[in-house]
Symmetry: C3
Subunit: 269 residues, 3 copies
């Protein structure tokens, strides 16, 4: 790829400023466990969250939203239908959307839905290595929302999935891998405490949707989202060493983080 | 109106003491994003929360509850039916109930339900200016849960809506406006951080239901709820300047707030 | 009973270390109000939470989970069917499961479901005195999730229920009573702040499922869960005196608590 780490830092800074200035309206169709945390993460960052996930409203809302998250963590029937309605409308309206195929592989209902959504041109797909491998049908899935495979194990599957779907694929782990099939970026920010609170990964999907709003290059916007999010986790981990207080400090850090923090801390490869 | 600000302060103090002494049982049929925060806000204040929102139970519970909230933030079909069941029972049993028509206007399902509930004699209606305008059919609604209109823009619509429905109408914003169609009170407490956490408005609807329990005058009880809630936000904002820690401090402040805080800080007009 | 308090302390310490080392996968089919807090409590403790509560997945997941919680706080139809599916699979696979019959007695839908689940051989039943009395059909139920009866009032009903069902029965209150019908243990740790946050009891049910994973003696594992949980509450209450900050401190304490804390603080009778 022709982009240098310096360019990515600069573009991440610009993207953060764009989110703050635009307060993009992000529709989240997400799981019941993390709705509150997801909305608070978006608010702290400066975006405008809306969880609109019922049939008859999910579609109309996806036309006015500036970004959309489809997270499959607790896909009750109403939400499954709403997700399809929203994606159809998002594609018609040009709203970028993120697919987070939580825990697919072993669980049949969400796996079938994820495979169907995969064919509906997601803008971005976010998952851990197990989930990306399962979505690429290159692996057997995991035991739930934990990663049981390393990011590197999903590199080839992620690149192939990006080429097949046209989506940017983001593989979450201690190192994050983001690829559009041609360009691949590795990021090494973050803190393990992010895995000790529920929704640490799920809210990142919503943040990716916020950064995708108005973006020209979704690889760059996804890199910017991951970089901002994981550097905020580092800021929080400097102030809190256990999960309860870390969650509070992390929301504060999403509010506090500036382009200067990005410049000082971003680690790209 | 004949009530003076001094009277309202005194009555707010009395109302807060009544909630603390009575621990009213408040049924909340509310959106999935804010159930946890709403229950914790009620508990912190001294009320007893119960989210009972399924068909076959919502009605029986509304007969024993001392206050009821109907919030339309994520109105899945089961919850829509449960809301109607609960309202019918509440009206038969004399349980006061609060309608919060979240984000109505542009979204068809909740708008239709809100217009139906409007005719079922809500005790109190709480919304931002956009929502109150939409419920009064004087506006075209908003982009979601944000206010896109100022409180003053909804004054006439609120008064008309109060006269038409018999409900107390509370319009939330930097200044809060509360009217029963004859008397109108403006309150100027609060902090902008309340808009940076999800559920900041939604939980207020539940607190209004708690203050309505056993009240003789719902205008006064609603003023007391708003005053207590927004002064608690001020206490919290003195201790926390970012949204994560503000949410924690706000729950603490709902527990801590006393009639003395009301006396020292309440700003009525 | 032949077990001494000293033995129980030692076994609680061993059980805590087993949870930390094994990170048991705990499936929680629980109410919408407390899903986030429950997942965070399990993560803080060192377990691996998964809320898998839809038809078609709840059963398959219960076969791979190491513990299962069925909490009846907001039993929508999909979740009722998923609960039965999960319990059937858990029984076939030998997965221990906890029944938390929230607010049964007055509310017909959950009461009918609880009575049906009672016959499906729960491993552990957790409730306050009112709920245990209602499940034993010895009482008329309560006004919601508050205990309106003391733990002692449910002693005979709990012992009879244990003998009838084969389950360990845990009655929550200022003193906790745990019985398998032959042996009965009283625990006197905890803090009243645990009743001022929502999910304080519900998350305990999930923690019981985590401690049941791989246990040889479910009375002991349940005692260990309650002891660990209530001592963590004591640690938190030393650092936070109001509910918002207590919730944060409690999650931190579940992460921090060690066998040494158990030894120093456990109060059995």
């Amino acid at each position: 790829m022709s982009r240098t780490p310096e360019n990515l830092i600069s573009e991440t800074q610009t993207a953060l400023e764009r989110v703050r200035a635009g307060a993009p309206l992000v529709q989240s169709i997400t799981n019941a466990v993390v709705t509150n945390f997801t909305a608070n993460a978006l608010l702290a960052l400066g975006a405008a969250p809306a969880m609109c996930d019922i049939v008859g409203e999910a579609g109309p809302f996806a036309r006015i939203a500036q970004g959309l998250l489809i997270n499959l963590g607790t896909p009750v029937p109403e939400q499954r239908a709403a997700a399809l309605e929203a994606v159809t409308a998002a594609n018609e309206a040009g709203t970028p959307w993120v697919l987070d195929p939580v825990a697919i592989g072993a669980l049949p209902v969400r796996t079938a839905l994820a495979l169907r959504l995969r064919e509906l041109r997601p803008t971005i797909v976010r998952g851990n290595a197990s989930e990306i491998l399962a979505l690429a049908e290159a692996g057997a899935g995991g035991r739930g929302v934990d990663a049981t495979d390393g990011v590197e194990s999903a590199r080839e599957a992620a690149i192939a999935l990006a080429r097949r779907t046209g989506a940017v694929i983001a593989v979450s782990g201690p190192t994050d891998l983001i690829t559009d099939g041609e360009r691949t970026v590795l990021l090494s920010n973050g803190d393990a405490l992010l895995t000790r609170i529920t929704g640490g990964g799920c809210a990142l999907g919503a943040v990716m949707a916020a950064f995708a709003a108005g973006a020209e290059d979704y690889l760059v916007s996804t890199v910017a989202a991951v970089s901002t999010y994981t550097i905020a986790a580092e800021l929080a981990a400097e102030r809190a060493s256990r999960p309860g207080s870390f969650q509070v400090a992390f929301l504060d850090a999403l509010d506090e983080i500036t382009p200067e923090h990005i410049l000082a801390r971003a680690v790209f490869a």
